[in-house]
């Protein structure tokens, strides 16, 4: 089949940011995740938790809470502002200052009319949600200490607010406090420390559940204001609570990294006398869990260790499948690395800066499995800091390595790179065309003569690049004229004739670059496109979907290819479908036109379209078997999917012009070693 020289790169110090808040929207099955660096991500829960949207953060924005109101997403943070997001364009829509100091929590009522925020100054502020903005309505009775947590009664008439040492119940109508529930401080030395009520949940039957810094989950009655029951969950803090929609299950996240489930079940079988009983404990995190969300069939949790864990509740799963498996999402479903294929450069995208590296060189040849002598080490050429507070949204380096472009929410910058011998200098291209004010996605043409930018307004802008500067050439718009947003993937084929763009509505448009007209649209599939590529010789568009399906679409004939139909007819192998990370790049090998190179976080795969497809009886991961078989028997055992599991925690794979592969890995152990120390726990016999 083939040997590849692989540059294994592990010096991309990408650090995922810790998760601060989660918000689940049951109606559209999306979960929003807020991270410490202020970025907000939206995952599609029923599409294999594909990360649909990423809204980059900014310096010092410190989101503390997230809330859905209908299909609108709001966040509030320590900067004192409430932010609404433009999810279609993946950017901040507006920010309103609440004038109450840092905001610790935000909660929307179920009716979708109001937002409540809890402020440092002790006020709970109500905002009315209007058509296109939010409007401050009034304050509830001001308290002496900050408001840490809030929960609306499902009816919308009452609000429970967690504070220092107590919980207040407000009547929304009057704005007065109805009850004051005193939370006990810890015993012994922690007696002197305040008890922080980190999280409250107000159930429709009037039960208020609180989680606090003493490690207790307490149940209160809002009529009498008395404690019904208390569960000691942990010695540390209970940081987050979340209740299921039908209020029969509750999960609590602790700073030990455990998620504790409580269920509302009857103690005696058949009787209607139900109680909250602690049932299960999950331990999937190493650090504090800052947010939990109980979604329909799973518990989603996130915390300081920056991974989003989807733990299925098997009693609620009807059919066990790959979609309902335990899932840990470590890395964004976008590419953070772009490679200059012809000049051996790599551009690493960090939130606040870019790094340009030159790959090393090897000497001699080696046996498969061996490491070659590195004649020249990789070299960091450039460290480019972002101007302003916004984090980078997207970036690209041109295939020739001469151009670098990046975009934040507010600006786009294009640089020209000069490399002579060992001196590297860059010049910023000034006077960019107006259309290049900001971009969702950036891409250079394969001959580096054009820059394509998926704008926030519509479609794709075409800009020609030359020594003198850049010039706006035209805009590619879909035929129908509806607002479609360039999303995620953008790809230009080798001869520069075709361009394809996929958007968040799962639409894929193909444009003819010579006429600059829309050529056709690929039939819409239910799952999101995670990666695509246009074959340089056959002009077929190869698409990978979040549900692990793959399609090959002939651009010239405007139909799926025979191979694609065969794949759909025969179905993909079970093991292929069970992979839990999306494919992030589609590449083609010019030397083997029948090969398609794909990768996800855990594997590198070459699909040989000339070989038979595996069926469910075939051994899918057969590389080791083939290796041990003699040459002549390999043919009969091989199938189209050649999966290489040598690499793990892959961020990027790229095939360079010299046929070598660049594999950028970010080992999770390295990530874990850079995290702050978790809470020290006494282990037996230590």
């Amino acid at each position: 089949m083939g040997e590849f020289k692989v540059h294994r790169v592990r010096f991309f110090d990408y650090m995922p940011s810790g998760i601060r808040a989660l918000a689940f929207n049951r109606d559209i099955e999306r979960i929003a995740v807020a991270r410490m660096d202020g970025s907000v991500e939206v995952f599609h829960c029923s599409d294999r938790f594909f990360q649909e949207k990423i809204i980059p953060g900014r310096e010092q924005c410190g989101i503390e809470g997230l809330s859905w109101v209908g299909e609108r997403l709001f966040s509030a943070g320590l900067n004192g502002g409430i932010t609404e997001y433009d999810l279609t364009n993946q950017k901040v829509k507006y920010t309103v200052d609440a004038y109450g100091g840092p905001i610790w929590t935000i909660a929307g009522n179920q009716q979708g009319t109001h937002l409540a925020v809890g402020c440092e100054d002790g006020t709970v502020k109500l905002f009315e949600v209007n058509e296109d903005k939010i409007q401050f309505e009034r304050n509830l009775d001001r308290q002496k200490s900050r408001i840490i947590s809030l929960s609306w009664h499902p009816s919308g008439s009452k609000i429970a607010a967690g504070m220092m040492d107590m919980i207040q119940i407000f009547n929304v109508e009057t704005g007065h406090s109805v009850h004051r529930l005193l939370a006990d401080r810890g015993v012994g030395t922690s007696r002197s420390k305040e008890c922080v009520v980190w999280s409250v949940v107000y159930l429709s039957d009037g039960t208020i559940i609180s989680g606090d810094s003493v490690g207790m989950v307490k149940l209160w009655d809002d009529q009498t204001g008395t404690l019904i029951k208390s569960h000691n969950v942990t010695k540390c803090d209970v940081l987050a609570l979340s209740v299921s929609q039908n209020e029969d299950s509750l999960v609590a996240g602790t700073s030990e990294g455990t998620v504790v489930q409580f269920q509302f079940i009857s103690m005696v079988l058949g009787k209607d006398d139900k109680e909250w009983v602690r049932t299960r404990t999950f331990k999937n995190h190493t650090h504090d869990i800052r947010a939990v969300a109980e979604i329909t069939t799973a518990v989603v949790s996130g915390g300081m260790d920056a991974q989003l864990v989807v733990r299925p509740l098997l009693d609620k799963v009807e059919v066990r499948s790959a979609a309902s498996a335990l899932r840990k999402i470590h890395f964004p479903h976008r590419r953070l690395v772009s490679c200059a294929r012809k000049s051996g450069l790599m551009l690493f995208q960090y939130p606040g800066h870019l790094e340009l590296w030159r790959l090393g060189e090897s000497e001699g040849k080696g046996m498969p499995g061996s490491s070659l002598f590195v004649k020249r080490n990789p070299e960091k050429l450039l460290h480019l800091k972002v101007k302003g507070e916004d984090h980078i949204r997207c970036s690209a380096v041109s295939p020739c390595g001469e151009w670098i472009v990046y975009s934040t929410a507010s600006s786009l910058r294009l640089y020209r790179l000069h490399c002579d011998n060992n001196n590297v200098s860059i010049t910023k291209i000034s006077k960019l065309p107006m259309v290049l004010s900001s971009a969702n996605q950036l891409c250079f043409s394969s001959d580096s003569s054009h820059l394509f930018s998926a704008s926030t307004q519509s479609s794709v802008h075409l800009v020609s690049l030359s020594q003198s500067g850049c010039k706006f050439v035209g805009t590619l718009k879909p035929k129908s004229g509806e607002r479609t947003i360039g999303f995620g993937v953008l790809h230009i084929i080798e001869d520069g004739k075709w361009l394809a763009s996929a958007n968040s509505d799962h639409e894929v448009h193909i444009y003819n670059l010579q006429t600059r007209k829309a050529h056709c649209t690929v039939p819409v599939y239910s799952s999101a496109v995670t990666a695509m590529g246009i074959h340089p010789t056959t002009n077929c568009l190869f698409m990978m979907y979040a549900d692990q399906q793959m399609c090959e679409y002939s651009i010239e004939q405007k139909q799926y290819t025979d191979w694609s139909r065969m794949v759909q007819r025969k179905g993909l192998h079970r093991f292929w479908m069970e992979r839990d990370t999306p494919c992030l790049n589609v590449m083609f090998n010019p030397q083997h036109p029948s090969h398609v190179i794909l990768h996800d976080t855990y594997m590198l795969c070459i699909i040989d379209q000339s070989l038979p497809l595996p069926d469910d009886k075939t051994q899918f991961y057969n590389q080791l078997t083939l290796k041990s078989l003699p040459e002549e028997q390999r043919k009969s055992h091989s199938h189209a999917f050649k999966v290489c599991k040598t690499f793990k925690d892959i961020l990027c794979v790229e095939l360079m012009s010299d046929q070598s592969l660049v594999v950028v890995e970010r080992p999770l152990e390295d990530v874990a070693s850079q995290l702050p120390a978790p809470i020290k726990q006494k282990k037996f016999a230590t």
Partner: protein, 682 residues
Amino acid sequence: MATLYEGYTLCGVGPVQNSSNIGILGVEQGRDIDYVLVTDSSRSITVYKVSDQKPTGSWSVKQGQIISCPAVFNTQSQEYVVVTDDRVVRVWKEDDVNLEKAFKATVSADVLRVLSATDSEPVVLFCCGAVRFLDSLLASPQQPIEDVLTEDEIIRGEHCLYVQRFNPNTLVKHRIETEPGLSAPISFSATCRGSNIHLLYLYLNGSVYESVLPFRSSSTGAEGVQALSCSLCLSLPLGEEKLMSGAAVVLDEAHVAVIGFPHPSAGACKDYLCIWNTHFQTLQASKEMAGRIYSQLWCYSGKLYVPHGKMLSVIPFDCQKSSLAAAMGKLKQTSRSGKDFSSDIYEMLTCKNRKTCQNTFCLIFKPLQMDCSLVEDVQAEVGEFIRRAPQADLQLAAGRVALELVSRSQTDANFYPQCAFLQLLETRYLCYSVCPELLSLAMVKKDFHLCQIAFQIFSDIPEAVTCACLKAILSTPDLEMETVNLDTDSVIFMKELTQAHSRSDEEGGQLNGFCPPALESDVSDTPSNKLQRDPLSLDMSCPVGLHKGALLNEVLQTAYSDRSLLPHLKDLTVPQVIVFLQYLRFLYFKYSHDAHKQIRALRTPSISQIIDWVCLLLDAHFTVLAVAPEAKRLVFDLHKFVRSQVKLYAELGKIEGSLQVLKNSKQSEDFGMYAIQVIELF
């Protein structure tokens, strides 16, 4: 097996100048393996291309000068080196025409030899025992040369061995410890194997001794003479005639070429080139050499260079790695008369000069020579002899005694000292080639007990004899066989094997956890009752008796080479083949059921031995088995079973790679931040 191929003459040898040495001073390796450098004593040096038998270059010294040592080729500098008139070192290149114009240097002491080795600088050995590298010597030719040898020693091959090591420079003097009374060795050969130097010396009395000298000896600054122990590794047969000259050269670790000694079976006075196996003391190949033999023999890259008569012959040879069975062969024991024999022994013992032993021999051979002596007496004498004889002598003598007893048993039908044979066998000094008639005698006498012991002890039974025994065993009725007294361990094994079968039958199933490999149920002619459901439990009764089985097991464990065995296997009759195959199938099924694992026995045939024999039998009788109706069922069963096993192993083979990776995965692949690796996808 070693082979001597047809030789050819490389060149003629000049007029013989003196009696002991002929015209050739030496033959040395040329610039590659196809070239040799022949130095003759008549002032000329010739380079021959061996494959063409043609000279490619020749140089001569002026009249009046004498070449005093064989010319060598310096592989480092690609130059030829020779010493003339004892002190003048001459160095020239291939394209130099005149030796007189070549570089020369006069050194300050007499040079004995220049020694060349591939990939290293030649060394110059002086008559006084000092050694110098050629390059350092030529750098300052007049440097003083120290005396290593004491005044009354010369380098010729006395009982002392000087070992000089470079880096660090050490000199160790070893005294070769041989039998007293031996004169100096007539020929030496040294090889390096591993970290040892192996020295081989040949004495005129036909003894070949070997000494092993480690490269790095522990005693560094020892001033005194160290004893160098040596072991006798070969005793060459001596002819009637007194030998004058001979030479030996080591070919590989097991083979040595000897010239000048008679072929054991040919007339004594002929001069032969022989290849002997020192491990088994067997003659591997021989070639008669016409004309006079000199004490000269060289070996370079698979060719022996033998000066004989008036020519220098090149004889290619081939020494294969010999299995024990293959090492036997050409040495046919010549039948000797008893008188000859005992005189031989007498001679041998006298030269060993051990009186006690000699006395013992006299005790034995007196009664042996009396035809009327009783079997019991002989047995008692043999027992006494074995008890009293020293180990080293026993090794040589046991075979001779056995041979004598066998020959007498063959002539005298009433004489069969079974106990004496068993006693001799138990010394473990006998092997088949020492006494080949013993096994056939036992067969004739139907002494299966002796056969069994012989099978256990002899590792060199020829395939023809193995087959003859097999045939005899198979043709003997079971009833007769059961009365034979056999080695108990083997019989217990057979008992256990057959009992394991009956036990599992009683339990009505297999051992715990055993699941027979799935076979296609295409057995159309079998009714589906409980027994038939598991095709492996078909016919699991032992087809032969216990004792016959025990003997067959011994046959299975003998060493053989299949190519030699195959023609002899064809001698078996069809019923014999079928019975044997049935037995093998029985064993194979038993083994597959893992029954034998629970039986503790010292000697059991291995599963691969069983399979090999099945294959051989099928190969030998394929056509017969294909048409014989009574064999159909048997072959069919075997086929089915083998097919299921092949399937199983194919599946196991598939996971081999994964297991290998699991094994290797422990080595962590920590390559830091960056590495360029090669991966292969299949």
